[in-house]
Amino acid sequence: MRVKANAKILALIVPVLLGLNSLSGVNSAYAETQAHESLPAAAAPAAVHAPAEAHDAHGTEAAGAHGSHEEKAGDVIMHHVQDSNVLAFEPFGEIVLPHIEVAGYDLSITKHVVMMWIAAVILLLVGAAAGAGIKKISIRQAPSGIANVIEALVDFIRLDVAKSNIGHGYEKHLPYLITVFFFILVCNLLGLIPYGATATGNINVTLTLSIFTFLITQIAAFKELGVGGYVKHLTAGTHWSLWIIMIPIEIIGQFTKPFALTIRLFANMTAGHIIILSLIFISFILKSYIVAAAVSVPFAIFIYLLELFVAFLQAFVFTMLSALFIGLATAHEEHDSHELEASGHH
C-alpha cells in the first residue's frame, strides 16, 4: 500500500524534483568552473541561467539518480522528526534503547519516551525548587528566582486560563492544566536543543494528552450536570424535531475537540522542525555555500526563533482550549438554568 502511494506521489512530483535537481547540478557545475571568480558575481548569472538550462537538463538527464538524491534528504528529515529506537549523538556515536514487549504490546523505550522522561525530570526538579522556594518564604515576602518565574506562570494559568474559562469550581482542574502546560512547554523546548527531539511532535503523545483532556471534560460534565443533564446537553437546547440532527452533531463534537487538540499540537511542532530542516537541506540540495549563507541559515534562524515562540504559544493554546472545553461542558447548562431562574422571577 505504502509503496504504491509513494510511487503515485513520486510520479506526480518527479518533474518538479527533476527541475530542482538539474538546477542543483547546474549550480554545482557553475561553481566548479568559476571557482576562482568572486562568488557573489557568480550567483546572479547562475540564477538567471538556471531555469533555461534546467529545461535542457530535464530532457537529457536520467531521472533515477536525482530521485534517490531527493529521497536521501527526505529520509534524513523524516528520521529526525520521527520516533526511533536509538539516541543518536552524531558524530560521537549512539545509544541503542531497550526493546520491551509486554503481552504482545510493544512497550519499548524510544527516543521520544526518553525525551519525555528528561522533560519530566526537569519539571520535577524545577517544581521541587519552586515548591521549596514558596514554602520557605512567608506570606508577606515576595518570591524570588525560580519560584517567582513558576509562580507568575501558575498565576497566569490560574486566573487567565482556568478561572476565566471554567468559572466556579476551576480549582479542581487547576493541577491538570498547570501540569499539561509545563509538560508540553518543556517537551516543545527540548526539541529545540541540539540532540533533542520533540516528543510533542509525535501524534501518539499529543493524542494521549488530548485523551486526558477528553476524559476530564466528560467526567466533569457528568459530575456537574448528572446523566440527565448530560443527555440534555447533547440536544443543545433545540426543538425535539431537530434532535435527530443535533445529537449526532453534538456527539461528534465531543470527539472533534480532542482530535483538534491532537492535530494542532502535533502539526505545529512537526511542521516547525520540518521547515527548519528543509531550509537547511536547500543548501545541501543546491550544493551552494551562497544559498547556505544567504537563505538557509538566516531563514532557519528565523524559523527557530519562531519555533521558540510557538513552543510557548502551543503549550498555552493546548491549556487554554482544555480549560475552554471543560468550561463549555460544565458551565453551559448552569448558565441556562440561571436564565430560567431569571425568567421565572419576572
Binding site: 524534483l17 534528504a73 520491551i100 510493544d106 517544581g127 519552586a130 501518539n204
Partner: protein, 175 residues
C-alpha cells in the same frame, strides 16, 4: 514543502504506537501527581492566601480611611463648635462689660449730682448762717456805735432820728 509532504504521506508520522501512548500516560500521570503535591499545591494555596491577604489589606485600608475621615469630620465639628463658643463668650463679655460700664457711669453721675446738690445745700445753709452772724454783728456794732454816739453827744432827738434812719436803711438793704 514538497519534501515534508512526502514525509507526511509516506507514513510513519501518523502511525499509532501503543508503547508511546502507554509511556506518555504513565509519565504524565506521575509528573501530575508529584507536581501537584510538591509544587502546584503550595504555590496555588500561597497565591490564594496572598490574594486574600491583599484583599484584607485593601479592606483594612478602606476602613482606616473611613475612620480617619469620620474623625476628621468630628474634629472639624468640634473646632467649629469651639469657635462658636469662644465667639459667644467674647460677645457676652463685651455685653456685660458695656452694661457694667453704663451702670457705673450712671451711678457715678447720680452720685456726683447728689454730691453737687448736697454741696449747694450746704453752701446755702452756710450763707444763711453767715448772714445771721453778720446781722447780729452789725446789730451789735450798731448798738456799740450808738452807745458811742450817745456818749459823745447826748442829743436824744437827733440820735433817735439817726437810729431810725439806720434801722430803715438796714431793713431796706436786707430786703
Amino acid at each position: 514543502m514538497l519534501t515534508s509532504g512526502i514525509i507526511l504521506l509516506s507514513g510513519g508520522l501518523l502511525n499509532p504506537n501503543p508503547g508511546l501512548i502507554f509511556w506518555t500516560a504513565v509519565t504524565f500521570v506521575i509528573v501530575l501527581v508529584i507536581l501537584k503535591k510538591i509544587a502546584w499545591g503550595p504555590i496555588v494555596s500561597m497565591l490564594e492566601e496572598r490574594e486574600k491577604g491583599i484583599q484584607s489589606a485593601i479592606d483594612r485600608a478602606h476602613t482606616a480611611k473611613e475612620e480617619a475621615e469620620s474623625i476628621l469630620k468630628k474634629n472639624r465639628e468640634m473646632l467649629a463648635k469651639a469657635d462658636a463658643e469662644a465667639d459667644r463668650i467674647i460677645r457676652e463679655g463685651k455685653e456685660y462689660a458695656d452694661k457694667v460700664r453704663t451702670e457705673l457711669t450712671e451711678k457715678a453721675q447720680a452720685e456726683s449730682q447728689k454730691m453737687i446738690a448736697a454741696a449747694k445745700e450746704e453752701i446755702e445753709q452756710e450763707k444763711r448762717r453767715a448772714l445771721d452772724v453778720l446781722r447780729n454783728e452789725v446789730a451789735d456794732m450798731a448798738v456799740k456805735g450808738a452807745e458811742k454816739i450817745i456818749r459823745t453827744s447826748l442829743d436824744a432827738e437827733r440820735q433817735k432820728a439817726v437810729v431810725n434812719d439806720m434801722i430803715r436803711e438796714m431793713a431796706a438793704k436786707r430786703n
